[in-house]
């Protein structure tokens, strides 16, 4: 039987919490989520049933038969050898063209949106031009491309040309070794190849690629005319050379893409005429063929066109031209014109709202099948998922009006129906958002999907305006464009639209680990618990810090060393990306690159620099405990603390309890919050923003967790917050350490709202009571909570609404809980695919109950 929330006294009345849906009364708590999946059509039910998931668990692919393909590696290598002597950007375009014209194209049973990025739907491509270590990692695994000897030869060929080789020599080997430990800093992107991009989908859908080719051809004509002018001025005229090369590369890329789409069209036609026996499917295949003959060459005319053109663009930008995680776009805004055409006006590809929902479900399943050739390390940090695929909806339009529309609703309905972990979704919350859409948002959250995660619409918009002032070419976001943002990955806003979007993760992304940095601050920068090496500068031993300020300053120096090193590594990567890892297709679809003859990685119009502190609260709570117990109360000495930490608290059990019970973040405790506010604003954000990156703007912290709070937690020794060595760290950004927020949900909000300066974003995980959320008052409570969160000017919040009973049942019988989804950090995951260590961190999160005091503070109206 379903557990109901206990009645509470509120405003002089006893409030009961009957289920919103009485039919759920007989469903046991332990299996609720297995009753929530409801694909809207037989087709999407079949597609989900046969989905070729690429989830990883503990670094291993969950489904058998998943492995790396060799085709992309082989084709780019042949092209690279054949194109010696040509400009580098042209070589990159020719490599893309080789993959698109000589590679395999795929069409699967039942699917309507077509296209894949490897030679078989069970495979994924590798990128030896990025990181030879990453490819080597696959060669040593069961997922190696075949034939393995050829793959090894290809990888060896690329070693001197790879981004990694080109960048490494500009770093002290000692610094590189420290980064490669991935305990105080993430390894540099030139070594791991992890990347993200925000494709300007709008130009593809609105213009079509034939138009982009025409633009580039026109620019080349104009450039040559400029070069021919007399008198010749070499100080200006030579600039056209690089631009002409870029435009030529764009044309090569776009022509190849059009041809590739038409190959898909031809495949659909051949299958229809030679293999398919069902007349209805034959007709559908011919329609699919017709669509791929039209897009992305021409502008999209209806919603089916738009989904298909968007998917081709996605594959090219995220899997074929270069690897990139993410799915950043403002999907409801991108699709809304085509929704209007097809559903409202029915003037092209007429369909119903229900048909649009089915399209959404099919797109979600395409993403779920998408394989990412990430290294083992990166598979480990996204347990229960295949990669970070995140898009954004809601918010406000350029004129400040509500950004929600019926496409927003279709996206939310489809996501709730089909229940897949990918793609995740961000909802930009504004008080202008219509209640109808908010209810759909709530339903997804209440059903335990973990998404949408919620971002504060106005904070994100103001942030785009702020960064705009640093634009190197004085062409950052206008006030109107500042409304057009989406999360680039889990947490950080970035512009979307026809230009000025982020093209490479060397602008923003990558992690730094304040928990570990705090640990080594106590030991003169030496890491005794994991790597057994000097990880940072020598800043003194904790026993010699006579004041809290000395400890503070040492920590600041250790943190600043790491920040400067990781941002330098990203900028060196960016420098090389613009010279050897150009993106001719991405360039061709960006209006800025097209206008200026610029390359996507090189051009920066809107700075958007950020880096992700992960495990911040372990450091913060440790500072609080030390100040309280050593410097203020003088209950213990630093020498005693260091002895206790060296033994992992063994023999110091009472001391561990005292440090564990010291004031903690997330309880609206002024003592703890005062120190932690200063820590976030002065060290985490203050030191980071001193750095200026490639784009000319400051770097700001985006606190989050991914799965690194587990990975790095396991590499972090015992810490003065009372944590044992190897235990997971805090699960994200500004979230309280699990189980230590004991004063209810509104106390958490009050604490978090105190940190306002020098932050770009901060992830807040909250776990809400299942019975309360599924009651008839669920929406009203959540809505009031969200409005309070908004009023407190908090950047982000996301929710788990899943019972401990169900998670524990899934641990016992995982095969019966395939649809149980949880929010880990900036992504959702299939619970049973998360290693037990990680599962236990989700279970340990405080399940927030709303008491009468909370409801009073939120001013919830429960009169109905």
């Amino acid at each position: 039987m379903t557990t109901l929330a206990q009645p509470i006294q509120y405003k002089g009345k006893v409030i009961d919490f009957p289920l919103a849906n009485p039919k759920e009364a007989d469903i046991p708590d332990e299996e609720l989520h297995e009753h929530l999946s409801a694909p809207s059509t037989d087709r999407t039910r079949r597609l989900k049933g046969r989905c070729r998931w690429k989830h990883a668990s503990a670094g291993e692919f969950v489904e058998k038969g998943v492995r790396a393909g060799i085709e992309r590696m082989r084709l780019i290598t042949e092209s690279h050898k054949e194109s010696r002597g040509k400009p580098e950007v042209i070589r990159r375009a020719l490599q893309l063209a080789a993959v698109l014209t000589k590679g395999t194209v795929v069409v699967q049973q039942d699917e309507f949106i077509i296209g894949y990025h490897a030679e078989d739907p069970n495979m994924f491509p590798l990128y030896p031009e990025l990181s030879y270590m990453n490819v080597k990692d696959y060669l040593q695994s069961d997922y190696s491309p075949q034939p393995a000897a050829e793959a090894e030869e290809i990888n060896n060929y690329w070693k001197p040309y790879s981004l990694q080789s080109k960048c490494e020599k500009y770093f002290d080997p000692v610094d590189l070794q420290r980064m490669y430990q991935v305990s105080s800093m993430e390894a540099p992107s030139f070594a791991h190849g992890y990347n993200s991009v925000v494709p300007p989908y709008e130009t593809v859908l609105e213009d079509g690629l034939l138009k982009r080719i025409e633009l580039a051809e026109g620019h080349i004509r104009d450039a040559k005319a400029e070069m021919a002018k007399q008198p010749w001025d070499g100080t200006k005229g030579l600039d056209w050379i690089g631009k002409i090369d870029n435009w030529e590369a764009m044309i090569i890329a776009d022509k190849a893409v059009i041809s590739w789409a038409k190959r898909h069209a031809r495949l659909c036609e051949i299958v229809a005429e030679n293999f398919e026996t069902d007349p209805a499917r034959k007709e559908e295949l011919l329609e699919m063929g017709e669509i791929s003959r039209r897009v992305p060459a021409e502008p999209c005319k209806g919603l089916k066109d738009a989904f298909q053109a968007k998917w081709y663009t996605y594959l090219l930008c995220h899997g074929i031209e270069r690897y990139a995680s993410g799915y950043a776009h403002k999907e409801d805004k991108v699709l809304w014109p085509y929704y209007q055409t097809s559903i409202i006006n029915k003037s092209f590809q007429p369909m119903t709202h229900a048909d649009a929902v089915e399209m959404v479900e099919m797109e979600r399943l395409k993403i779920s099948e998408h394989g990412a050739g990430k290294s083992r390390g990166y598979r480990e940090i996204f347990p229960g998922s295949n990669d970070l695929f995140i898009f954004t909806i809601g918010g406000t339009n350029g004129d400040g009006s509500d950004g929600c529309n019926d496409m927003t609703d279709a996206i939310l309905e489809g996501a709730r129906n089909i229940r897949t972990t990918e793609p995740s979704m961000v909802f930009r919350y504004s008080k202008k958002n219509r209640v109808k859409t908010l209810y759909h948002v709530f339903e997804c959250i209440r059903d335990g999907l973990g998404y949408p995660s919620i971002k504060h619409d106005e904070i994100g918009t103001e942030q785009m305006k702020y960064y705009s002032q640093f634009s190197l070419n004085k062409n950052g976001a206008t006030d109107e464009e500042a409304h057009d943002w989406a999360n680039v990955l889990c947490m950080s806003p970035g512009l979307v639209g026809r230009r000025k979007t982020q093209k490479t993760r060397s602008e923003g992304g990558g992690s730094i680990f304040p928990g570990k940095i705090f640990e080594i601050t106590l030991t003169n920068g030496y890491d005794w618990s994991y790597s057994d090496m000097q990880l940072g500068p020598e800043t003194g031993y904790a026993e010699n810090f006579e004041t809290f300020e000395q400890l503070w300053d040492a920590y600041k120096k250790q943190y600043a060393y790491c920040v400067n090193l990781v941002i330098r590594a990203k900028d060196v990567s960016r420098y090389m990306e613009g010279r050897f890892l150009q993106l001719p297709f991405v360039s061709s679809i960006d209006d800025g690159c097209m206008e200026l003859g610029a390359e996507a990685c090189s051009l920066s119009e809107q700075p958007n620099g950020w880096h992700n502190p992960i495990t911040t609260v372990v450091g913060g709570n440790s500072l609080v405990a030390i100040k309280k117990l050593i410097y203020d109360d003088k209950k213990y000495t630093m020498k005693q603390l260091m002895e206790a930490l060296k033994t992992n608290w063994e023999g110091f059990e009472q001391m561990q309890k005292d440090f564990k019970n010291a004031p903690k973040w997330g309880n609206d405790d002024d003592y703890a919050d005062g120190i932690i506010k200063r820590y976030y604003e002065e060290i985490i954000g203050g030191e980071m923003r001193k750095v200026t990156n490639y784009s000319g703007g400051p770097i700001m912290p985006v606190g989050q967790g991914v799965g690194l709070y587990m990975e790095v937690g396991s590499r972090t020794g015992p810490t003065p917050d009372g944590r044992y060595g190897g235990e997971a760290a805090d699960d994200g950004g500004i979230s309280p350490y699990f189980g230590t927020d004991k004063k209810g949900p509104t106390a958490v909000l009050k604490s978090v709202s105190k940190v306002q300066e020098n932050q770009k974003a901060n992830l807040l995980n909250q776990r809400l009571s299942v019975p309360m959320m599924r009651s008839k008052h669920g929406f009203d409570i959540w809505h009031a909570y969200m409005n309070t969160w908004h009023d407190l000017n908090i950047d982000h919040v996301q929710f788990n609404v899943v019972s401990t009973a169900e998670m524990k049942a899934a641990q016992k019988e995982p095969e019966k809980h395939q649809d149980l989804i949880v929010r880990v950090a900036g992504f959702s995951a299939r619970f049973v695919d998360i290693p037990t260590y990680g599962q236990n961190t989700i279970i340990a999160r405080t399940e927030q109950q709303f008491g009468a005091e909370d409801l009073e503070y939120l001013n919830v109206d429960l009169s109905n």
């Binding site: 014209t101 795929v106 051949i270």
Partner: protein
């Protein structure tokens, strides 16, 4: 020696297509595994030597 041109999976690229070349074709094969059916298309030429998937055109 048999060539791709004699194979049942050989579908000539029609003139007028962007990637048309004399003798060029799509090699389209049907595959089936526990997840269902799918079709793959790879470019081949009529004089290419046959592969293991060769099936004589009837």
């Amino acid at each position: 020696m048999a060539t791709c041109a004699e194979c049942a999976f050989f579908f000539r690229v029609p003139e007028g297509e962007d990637d048309f070349e004399p003798g060029k074709a799509d090699c389209v094969t049907e595959h089936k595994d526990q997840k269902g059916k799918y079709w793959l298309s790879k470019p081949v030429f009529e004089k290419t030597e046959t592969c293991g998937n060769f099936r004589k055109r009837s």
